[in-house]
């Protein structure tokens, strides 16, 4: 690579400035979180007497164990169910090419760019009628449905490229469509299923609007939804609000750092295919 020395340093400086722009906000809230609760510190001051206790206070007041359990419950209810039904639908549309596959695909693709806020009001009335309003199911069921356009589209993109011979060979051996699906096609589809699972887990964990509208009790929400409620309570106590925000971010950050390669590539592929 022939790049002039000056340009090299200019480029690296630009990169470092951008990284600082990304990181500084996190450092700012971290330092603020260590100031005495109830004070209004500057945005970038190391406290004279760091109040690590703020994290404990926020942990207790935000009922973190309950929040974690609730978020995990919702993710574990949404992601596997959505994966199974979207993979089955993608298989039928992309590989079995059932009659009406094109219409079905169009129907699902139609929902790809649908903003959640566009249909949130009828969902609210529907859930009141079904009696699931203000329960975790109120978040779980619509989320599974709202992921279907992307998930079916994604899985179909995998199955449509699978050679038909694979199933034919097995069919000669007497396998049913059901067996074929579970024993041959699902194992082969593991990479796209894994990426889809990562994406849906992140989206679920970060879901806010559905929580705000459909569940009043913060401890029945996801992390992001609970954070919104926490903000309402501690609008005037900046250090505690910052401490709570950090606590809520920690699980995401740990998972991101551990699985950064998979997460980045899943999110990039997700947007490219979507």
């Amino acid at each position: 690579m022939k790049v002039a020395r000056g340009e090299l340093w200019a480029g690296r400086t630009l990169l470092l400035v951008l990284m600082a722009f990304t990181i500084l906000p996190f450092i700012s809230i971290f330092m603020t979180a260590l100031h005495p609760s109830g004070t209004v510190p500057g945005g970038f001051e190391w406290p004279a007497n760091p109040q690590w206790i703020n994290f404990l206070t926020a942990w207790n007041q935000a009922e973190m164990p309950k929040l974690l359990a609730s978020s995990l419950f919702i993710v574990l209810a949404v992601v596997p169910a959505a994966l199974v039904i979207s993979t089955m639908a993608g298989y039928a549309i992309g590989l079995l090419k059932i009659p009406g596959a094109r219409v079905l695909l169009f129907l699902f693709v139609f929902g790809l760019t649908l903003p959640f806020s566009g249909i949130i009001i009828p969902i609210y009335f529907l859930e009141r009628a079904l009696g699931i309003y203000n329960t975790r199911l109120a978040i779980v069921l619509p989320l599974i449905a709202l992921y279907m356009p992307f998930a079916v589209f994604w899985m179909r993109a995998h199955f449509v490229n699978m050679p038909a011979e694979i199933s034919e060979a097995a069919r000669v051996d007497g396998a049913t469509i059901w067996d074929l699906f579970w024993q041959i096609h699902v194992p082969l589809a593991r990479p796209p299923i894994a990426s889809l699972g990562i994406l849906m887990a992140i989206w679920t964990w970060n879901q806010f609007l559905l929580c705000l509208v459909l569940v009043e009790d913060p401890t029945q929400r996801t992390m992001a939804g609970a954070l919104g409620a926490f903000q309402g309570h501690y609008a005037n106590d900046v250090p505690l609000l910052c401490a709570g925000t950090i606590l809520i971010l920690v699980p995401t950050l740990i998972v991101f750092i551990l699985f950064q390669r998979q997460i980045i590539s899943a999110l990039l592929q997700g947007s490219i295919k979507g």
Partner: protein, 324 residues
């Protein structure tokens, strides 16, 4: 497997029917004349769970939204038909049409700036950042994309507050006169919210464009450089034309994020001060759930959904056509 069939029929789906196979007995039972139909029925059963969920929680609510938009309804007492009045209302009430205008301003902040800046930055980084620095920067720049938007909103709500980091830095550079409560000022609230969008989306655009650049044939860059092309020539002659598709993806994702924005704005300003940062998503929530004006809220929702589609289609068309 109940129906016995007299003989094995010719299989229509182009399948090599291997009768000599030892498992011929089984194949005979599977490749019955009605095989196609049966497979189709099973195929439809495979789609059914997804289709039912999607219909109940997306398609039906979508139709209901359109239906509600023609009524005056508070959610409790009987609804009255008002025809297109809710739509006419959107254009007559400054607060409502204002949300649509604000949404387009947000497109500048959430979409035009991150994609434009992202292209420039990515092309610079592409030339210099290889190896470790490249990997680390990818992770760091992507970070805002994985945290909840609510958290991004809370963090920036504090940074942009009077004692926050932004004002503190301005003072440090002797620009104390510029300090203000950025999110509370009618003139600066929208750009301030836009900053949050840039912070969230810039890294995503950079990483996505960088990934696209690595797929461009290196010999193109090589020959451009042999011809003595500087950064700018390389940018306009190689990078932008070859990255049309990736640019289209960035635009699509960020435009949807701008038009359908809710989380960031709800957490930082809730649409205020006045309605200077109110966008359709926020206004739908306020109309529907605090003012119980279901009709106007639904009309705005229909407008929003139509708007997103109308803006996305040309972007998709322009960036996909020219790729070939």
């Amino acid at each position: 497997m109940t129906m016995a069939t007299p003989s094995k029929s010719t299989v229509t789906s182009g399948m090599t029917s291997d009768n000599r196979h030892p498992a011929a007995e089984i194949s005979r039972r599977i490749f019955r004349p009605r095989k196609i139909r049966r497979e189709d029925v099973v195929g439809w059963l495979f789609v059914l769970p997804a289709l039912i969920m999607y219909t109940v929680f997306v398609i039906v609510p979508f139709i209901s939204t359109i239906q509600y938009s023609f009524f005056k309804w508070n959610g409790v007492s009987p609804a009255t038909w008002v025809g297109l009045r809710n739509y006419a209302n959107i254009f007559q009430v400054p607060n409502l049409i204002g949300t649509v205008i604000n949404a387009f301003w947000l497109v500048v902040w959430f979409s035009v700036i991150p994609v434009g800046l992202g292209l420039i930055v990515a092309s610079v980084i592409h030339r210099v950042a290889t190896g470790r620095l490249g990997t680390i920067s990818r992770t760091v720049l992507f970070l805002p994309q994985v945290i909840p938007l609510v958290a991004a909103g809370i963090i920036w709500g504090w940074l942009l507050a009077l004692p926050g980091l932004i004002n503190q830095s301005l003072k440090a550079f002797g620009l104390g006169a510029l300090t203000r409560a950025w999110l509370g000022d009618f003139d600066t609230a929208l750009p301030a919210v836009g900053m949050v969008g840039i912070w969230v989306l810039l890294g995503f655009c950079i990483v996505l464009l960088l990934t696209g650049m690595t797929k461009v044939d290196p010999s193109l860059y090589e020959s451009a450089r042999l011809d003595g092309a500087g950064w700018f020539t390389e940018f306009t002659a190689v990078t932008v034309p070859l990255l049309r598709y990736e640019i289209g993806v960035c635009l699509t994702v960020t435009v949807v994020a701008a038009l359908a924005a809710f989380d960031i704005i709800w957490v930082t300003t809730a649409g205020g001060p006045g309605s200077s940062t109110s966008v359709p998503g926020v206004q739908i929530y306020i109309l529907g759930f605090t003012q119980r004006a279901i009709g106007p809220a639904s009309a705005l929702a229909v407008m929003l959904m139509a708007l997103v589609v109308l803006v996305i289609i040309p972007i998709q068309y322009l960036t996909k056509e020219k790729k070939q």
